[in-house]
Amino acid sequence: MLAAPMPVHAAGPPVSDYRLANGLELVVIPDHRAPVVTHMIWYKVGAADETPGKSGLAHFLEHLMFKGTAKHPAGQFSTVVAAFGGRENAFTGADYTGYFQRVPSEKLKTVMEFEADRMNGLALSEDDVLRERDVILEEESQRIGNNPRARLGVQIDAALFLNSPYGKPVIGWRHEMAQLTRDDAVGFYRRFYGPNDAIVVVAGDVEPEQALAFAQETYGKVKPNNNIAPRRRPKEPPPVAARRLSLADPRVEQPIMERAYLVPSFATAAQGESEALEVLAHVVGAGTNSRLYRELVIDRQVAVAASAWYDSLALDMSKFGIYAAPRGGVSLPDLETALDAVLTQVKDKGITAEELDRSKNKLIADAVYAHDSQVSMARWYGSALTTGATVDDIARWPDRIRAVTGEQVRAVARRWLDLRRSVTGYLVKDDRPPVEKRL
């Protein structure tokens, strides 16, 4: 163990942050209300770290991590977790891959042992890999192929990111997914998995020292992986042209529009800008009190839905998104004009003191609500820590939001909500008769 524990006090319980000698970071968030723990391991590797041509590999490996190790054959980990009534799953993002189990507190060390074992002990057969490749192709159909709105999102990302790997879908492009091999998966695993780029987050009924002792006895025995290199991905050039696209799909019964702007994440932003973008997204598009909803849905009645969001948690540049669905008889260009008028108003006049207060209160209250859930807390810490934030940054979230001024909100709106930084996508019905395929 290198570092001493660093208890961080803020709203909620003190959080402990440790680093083991092999580089693994351990974060413990105590919650003693029920005798259960949520144990998550977050690897600092995601779809954005894939080699070009191998899209979907990070997610594919996530699936394959359930195929067993030399020590524990396939299914044993899941069977053991199920035997004590635990739940488990895994997830992959552009910047991280995570695995979690929710189990009785006294089983924490057991799941740590299994998780430490598959950190470098994965044993894959050719058959496992081929069958699982069929599964991820079905997953792609379910998430994207069967869902026109998800297809639009994929196209917008691809157009927004000119150079960053964030332009690829996390699940991958189908033609590349279909060619992934066992060697690809093993190579990715050896290159990126190891204690020195892993963060273990434990939320629940455990004392920090106890969790540390368990971690040292399990994860502490895994040697660092010397192949792991700092994450340096291709960066976006300054965007200079507004991009537009239109996706026609025969299944569209309700047209929609979405827009994404390239904006800084917490990790890439100047101080205070990311927080101002959070407030901006809230005022502009969170819920029925937001500008977009009030103007477009209630007052002008040109939309049936309108919202905005901002994702601060990304290692590289991130996105500010806008979504609107027109009311019957309103065209997408007319809706877009109305939407742009709302944004222009915010850029010209800023937001009111009342809007600023209301949004800050809600964003800070959301953090209090998050303290009610082990899973929410563990997810928050894991996703922030794998995208460049520190435990201290997270603990200071209420203060960071409280410090945002109305002038800062207006400034980020003017600076970042610039059409040249954006892609606007329409989703419309494809009315062409289907072409008969000859088989």
């Binding site: 199920a82 159909s141 019964e253």
Partner: protein, 441 residues
Amino acid sequence: MIRLIAAVLAGLVAFVAAPASAMTIEPIVSPAGIKAWLVREHTVPLIAMSYAFLGGSAQDEPDKAGTSAFVADMLDEGAGDLDGKTFRDRLERHAIELNFGVTRDYFHGSLRTLREHGEEAFELLGLALSEPRFGLDAVERVRGQELAELRRELSNPNSLAGKNWWRAAFPDHPYGRETRGTPESVARIAADDLRNYARRVFARNGLVVTIVGDVDPEIAGRLIDRAFGALPAENALKPVPDAIPRGLGRRIVIELDVPQAVITFGGVGIARHDPDFMAAYVVNHILGGGGFTSRLYREVREKRGLVYGISDNLVWLRHAAIVIGSTATRADRTADTLEVIEHQLRRMAEHGPTEEELTAAKSYLKGAYALSFDTSSNIASQLTEIQIDDLGIDYIRRRQALIDAVTVADARRAAKRLFGGELLVTIAGKPKGLAAGRAHE
């Protein structure tokens, strides 16, 4: 192996007993006479409430399906002296969350607030329930949103497979109507229909309430009265007849141009108060419960790679019980997938689970229960379900023994009842090569 499992079980008793003992459920009665369950929880400074009124979408008029769901969407659109904008401003300024939803039998609601804004939160909810405005502008706007969503679902294979399953299983019964209605039925609903529904359903006699949070019984009682005290004493519900699912043995294909066919399958279930319910619950977990260990998951996904997800559930309604599951697969593998599913169901019906499977499933179901009580809101909604099912305030403590009591013979009997009959199957997509010789529509 048996020794190992025994050791695991011994460890579990203390664990599963813990949520019950760590969590004391107090039955309380408000000054106005409304009964509720209270769990005092002082760690996080918030109050969560879950409640339900008897009378869900089954109370919609036959030609106005979606009325109850429409009401749920309208309750933050203004009440009493407050117009919609003012009402929602007051909610957001205090970070108060009110949610409303509808199932076939119940109108559900939840509330979450920071403790300091408790009075405001319960007062706003009280206004919403007893004096909803249903203003014409808001009604038309919300109708537009609902129609947009319903139109979108017309090409969503998951919705289509599911809705058509219910329609075919319960023709001429309120359960066969879509909870959210259809574009045609929603177009027919007037503001008076919404008022009428609220008047008939929002009453104190069909109400169950659970409060979890940093409050004592006296404050909780006062808050409950703020929310529900002004409601009429008696509801005015139409009777809903008992029903059993029909259409068993049918396969209905809903043609849709999607890469993946969505399959919904199901049949006759087992009622919540049937003596075989717990055995059925355990058996169904073994066949197709969530997690990575069920037979369907292993056979359909792990061994054959046919699908991404597959599971099935017991659904118990007040007037019917079903078992229903779903999955999605490539068009040219639809027939294979269905064949594996049907084979697994038959096998389970004929032989039941193994002793080992039964032991493992019991162990899982007992342990996993604690995880459902992990947040204040989840505790509240779980306890509301226990009240709805009329299982008693000591159910959490008794549940262990009920699961342990399931024998292999019980499990076999329940398996035969659940999976021994024919299935109703709906498929949305472009399935190829479905087995001939069966009803295929």
